[in-house]
């Protein structure tokens, strides 16, 4: 290995030396051409280097589209949240609701009518007014399939959060009225407890009706909202550039003049770019690289508050996993603390329930099963598999914040399973195929995870384990009537204390029946220049950067 490093470095050096020789001749030949042109270009480039405050954010993948309602992808929201505002926002770094375009709101005691008081004097980037009519327009566009600006491909998040479109049996928004320019009234068909939290989700950001009417396709390339930054340019797979909105409604913000999102797919390369000053902030830091960031005095480490769950799931429709005893046996054979120490490098903690410990409603009374191979063997024997069995274990091919090294974690679990006689064959495949096949239920034992959208337990428990979510995100295909009923009841109960009780019961049922083994909640790591201030990573995975500044 050492020899190889040496020879490689030598090759690079030789190549570079030859190249520099070649390059210097290029620059000398250009020198004469440079003289007559100097007057024009020089002033144009000079201020760009010293003047405006720019923040370059490095990330792993490009945005798919900039019309947030058409997207479900986190990379999209990282950008759109800076361009468009939602009616209700989240407090810095937490999932507590906060005023945004709506300054205050009232709910009737039956939980059916929400009245929102909007901020006045706010303008969209195209100069048109933001008001109750604009809010109404956006909701009509999303909810009404016959609306001219409704997308033929549909709005996934709208369906999932509001029970379908206008006319569908489960659709929850009966009407949206513009009472006066600064008052908007939502009437629901049934109480929906997470309604306000839903309004705060990134896809429900309010866009300029004028811009949408003009060309809805173009809106996806060039969004127009009320946010702290205006869209400037999108070089696909490379950069998205935004500039300061000088008329932003929050006085004194944004602090930055320019914001650039740059795609650098490789985590290590992104860190190099940060260390060499080409970018200022990055997400997707490898957990292995955390010590290097801590040791570098030019850099600082940010930890995103946890809002996710990485889990080992069982397809309960497949034998022998249809037997809860078998599932429990495997749960006893998974050494969570060990895995978290080995693979999460201090940025994760073992999970007990399928929702983050920081979220309200988390059942802290449940005591997790300890790693116990004897107990596991005993349960297997009781289930009629004293000699174990063979099973396919699907491992994630890509790193995700909730599962940094899928295959390696699977291998660690495989070793322990072998000790109880369970012969797990690790299966992996390309990511899109993996998701598709697990959705269709082709897997046996598998690993996956989830990052929360809106700070509501419903967004974890119901999404992952409600029987109505089979075919979408309930990959375990666990259909427990009791749990589903409790979750349904919790969804339509306005009182939070009551909901909390219901969700705790649901977690007990889940723990007992083991459709999945919650593995870990991670705190995703980010890195930035040491002089960045007021950057607060938000638990939902993306945030507006209006407050970020340089020391």
């Amino acid at each position: 290995m050492k020899k190889r490093v040496l020879s490689a470095t030598m090759t690079s050096l030789v190549a570079l030396a030859m190249l520099i020789a070649g390059c210097s001749s290029t620059s000398t030949t250009q020198a004469p051409a440079e003289q007559p042109k100097t007057e024009t270009p020089a002033p144009a480039t000079e201020p760009a280097k010293t003047g405006p405050k720019q923040l370059i954010v490095g990330r792993g993948a490009d945005t798919k589209g900039l019309d947030p309602i058409t997207q479900t992808d986190g990379e999209t929201f990282k950008v759109t949240e800076n361009i468009m505002d939602t009616l209700i926002g989240f407090a810095d770094g937490s999932t507590e609701l906060a005023p945004s375009l709506a300054e205050k709101w009232e709910v009737t005691p039956d939980g059916l009518v929400y009245t929102l008081k909007l901020r006045s004097g706010v303008k969209f980037h195209d100069g048109t007014d933001f008001n109750a009519e604009a809010v109404k327009y956006n909701f009509e566009r999303w909810s009404d399939k016959s609306h001219p600006q409704h997308s033929p491909e549909g709005f996934e998040y709208y369906i999932s959060q509001f029970g379908g479109y206008k006319g569908d049996a489960n659709h929850v928004i009966k009407s949206v009225e513009a009472v006066d320019p600064t008052t908007v009234k939502f009437t629901l068909t049934r109480p929906l407890a997470p309604f306000l939290a839903n309004l705060a989700m990134s896809p429900f950001a309010i866009g300029s009706p004028e811009a949408l009417k003009k060309d809805v396709k173009k809106f996806n390339e060039h969004p127009i909202g009320t946010g702290p930054f205006k869209f400037v340019e999108w070089k696909r797979n490379d950069t998205i550039t935004l500039e300061k909105n000088p008329d932003y409604w929050s006085p004194g913000y944004p602090k930055l003049d320019k914001l650039v999102f740059k795609v650098i797919p490789e985590n290590t390369a992104r860190l190099t770019a940060l260390a060499s000053g080409e970018i200022d902030l990055m997400d997707g830091l490898n957990t292995d690289d955390i010590p290097a960031v801590k040791d570098n005095k030019d850099l600082q480490l940010f930890l995103r508050p946890t809002n996710n769950i990485g889990y080992i799931g069982f397809n309960v429709e497949k034998k022998p996993l249809d037997n809860p005893k078998v599932r429990e046996a495997i749960a006893y054979a998974i050494n969570k603390p060990e895995i978290v120490t080995a693979f999460f490098d201090g940025v994760g903690e073992p999970a007990v329930n399928p929702m983050p410990k920081t979220m309200w409603g988390h059942n802290n009374d449940i005591k997790d099963r300890e790693f116990n191979l004897d107990k596991a063997k005993q349960l297997l024997a009781e289930a009629g598999h004293p000699n174990g069995f063979k099973i396919k274990f699907w491992a994630m091919p890509v790193p995700r914040p909730y599962m940094p090294e899928g295959v390696k974690i699977a291998e660690a679990i495989q070793q322990d399973l072998k000790k109880i006689g369970v012969d797990a064959e690790i299966v992996t495949m390309e990511w899109a195929t993996y998701l598709e096949k697990t959705r269709l239920g082709e897997q046996e034992m598998f690993m996956l995870g989830w990052t929360g959208d809106n700070g509501d337990p419903d967004n974890f428990l119901a999404v992952l384990l409600d029987k109505n979510s089979i075919g979408s995100n309930n990959y375990t295909r666990w259909a427990n009537d009791e749990a589903s009923q409790l979750m349904m009841k919790a969804q339509s109960t306005p009182d939070q204390a009551e909901r909390e009780k219901l969700y705790k019961q649901v977690q007990e049922i889940i723990f007992k029946d083991v459709p999945m083994v919650p593995l870990a909640h991670s705190t995703p790591a980010l890195a930035g220049k040491a002089n960045i201030v007021d950057y607060n990573p938000h638990p939902k995975g993306s945030e507006s950067l209006e407050k970020v500044d340089f020391k």
Partner: protein
């Protein structure tokens, strides 16, 4: 005249090749698991919406109808629309192609310049320490994983020495305004010489990473080809006339030794154009390789299909060019 006839024959031969290629690409894509309608709609698709979109995309037609529809579009210059962005692929692919082409040209310049000269010198000074070193380096170069080389380059030259930028095509703090999407040209057109220098600096590390393998191959082929030519009678004659070694090597021997080298250069250029995915990933280069790989992840059929077809066509065209050059340099070839 014979050259013209040869050229025409050679160009006509492209037709079956391109048709065959389009069939292969078309069928491979249909073999990828996963329903594109589902992928577009995402996890919460309703059966009705899936049916609608399948109909709109023509996915319900028999495959040969889909193929003929596709070919009709291609022949009229329509590469289709991306499912992801709804933009025409022919517009969308241009910046990516330009980015990859620019990188490929630079890599090949590096590879050819260093590779050919190293090969010549090795042959000239056969069995000297230079020869041994160069061939050892070439051996390492061929077997070096691009991934590792790229990360090492970034670590040494960007992070530690801070000589060169590690990622991207330009300085994001002072971005290049795209005109032709070839940034070297664009900065020259705009007269932004400091930006031109930035663009060149951004090309160096990925250029070396991508150029290393072809450089090594070219060096080895040049060396063996030169050795063969140097033993030929006419070279001995040239020496006997009293010409200097330099003159003999660069004037007389090189032209004949270049024929196999040219083939390798052509093949490698084609390979780089399509196979630069790893380099593009490490260096955050917005090139066509990553464009297609992203499309595969998104099951963006039209982009995968048309993207591969474009790359394959360029590959075939480069081969054609090499063959024609070949016939031009060595007149014997056209009679075969």
């Amino acid at each position: 005249m014979a050259l013209l006839a040869y050229s025409i024959r050679r160009i006509l031969m492209l037709i079956p090749v391109l048709v065959g290629m389009s069939i292969i690409v078309f069928s491979i894509i249909r073999a990828i698991p996963g329903d594109p309608a589902l992928t577009i709609l995402g996890e919460k698709a309703t059966p009705q919406a899936i049916a609608d979109i399948r109909e709109a995309l023509g996915l319900n037609n028999p495959w040969y109808i889909q193929y003929f529809d596709y070919m009709k579009d291609i022949l009229s210059g329509n590469l289709g629309e991306s499912l992801q962005t709804n933009a025409p692929i022919s517009d969308e692919i241009l910046p990516y192609l330009a980015a990859t082409t620019e990188l490929t040209i630079v890599s090949m310049l590096i590879a050819v310049f260093i590779g050919v000269n190293a090969g010549i010198l090795s042959a000239w000074k056969q069995n000297s320490w230079f020869d041994y070193c160069a061939m050892l380096i070439a051996l390492v170069g061929v077997s070096m994983p691009i991934f590792w080389l790229g990360l090492m380059e970034q670590w040494v030259f960007a992070q530690e020495l801070k000589w060169l930028p590690s990622v991207g095509r330009d300085d994001s703090r002072n971005p290049v305004e795209a005109i032709t999407h070839f940034y070297i040209l664009d900065t020259m057109i705009a007269g932004q010489w400091d930006q031109l220098w930035e663009v060149i600096k951004h090309l160096i590390l990925p250029g070396i990473a991508l150029g290393t393998i072809p450089m090594a191959i070219i060096a080895r082929i040049t060396r063996s080809s030169m050795l063969e030519v140097m033993r030929a009678d006419y070279v001995r004659t040239a020496r006997a006339k009293g010409l200097t070694q330099f003159w003999v090597v660069y004037k007389h021997a090189l032209k004949n030794a270049m024929i196999p080298v040219l083939t390798v250069i052509g093949l490698q250029t084609g390979l780089l154009l399509g196979g630069a995915v790893l380099t593009e990933t490490i260096f955050g280069w917005p090139g066509v390789g990553r464009y297609i790989v992203t499309a595969i992840g998104n099951r963006d059929y039209p982009v995968i299909q048309s993207g591969i077809l474009v790359i394959a066509t360029i590959f075939v065209l480069i081969n054609l060019l090499v063959d024609l050059l070949y016939a031009y340099i060595d007149p014997r070839i056209k009679y075969r």
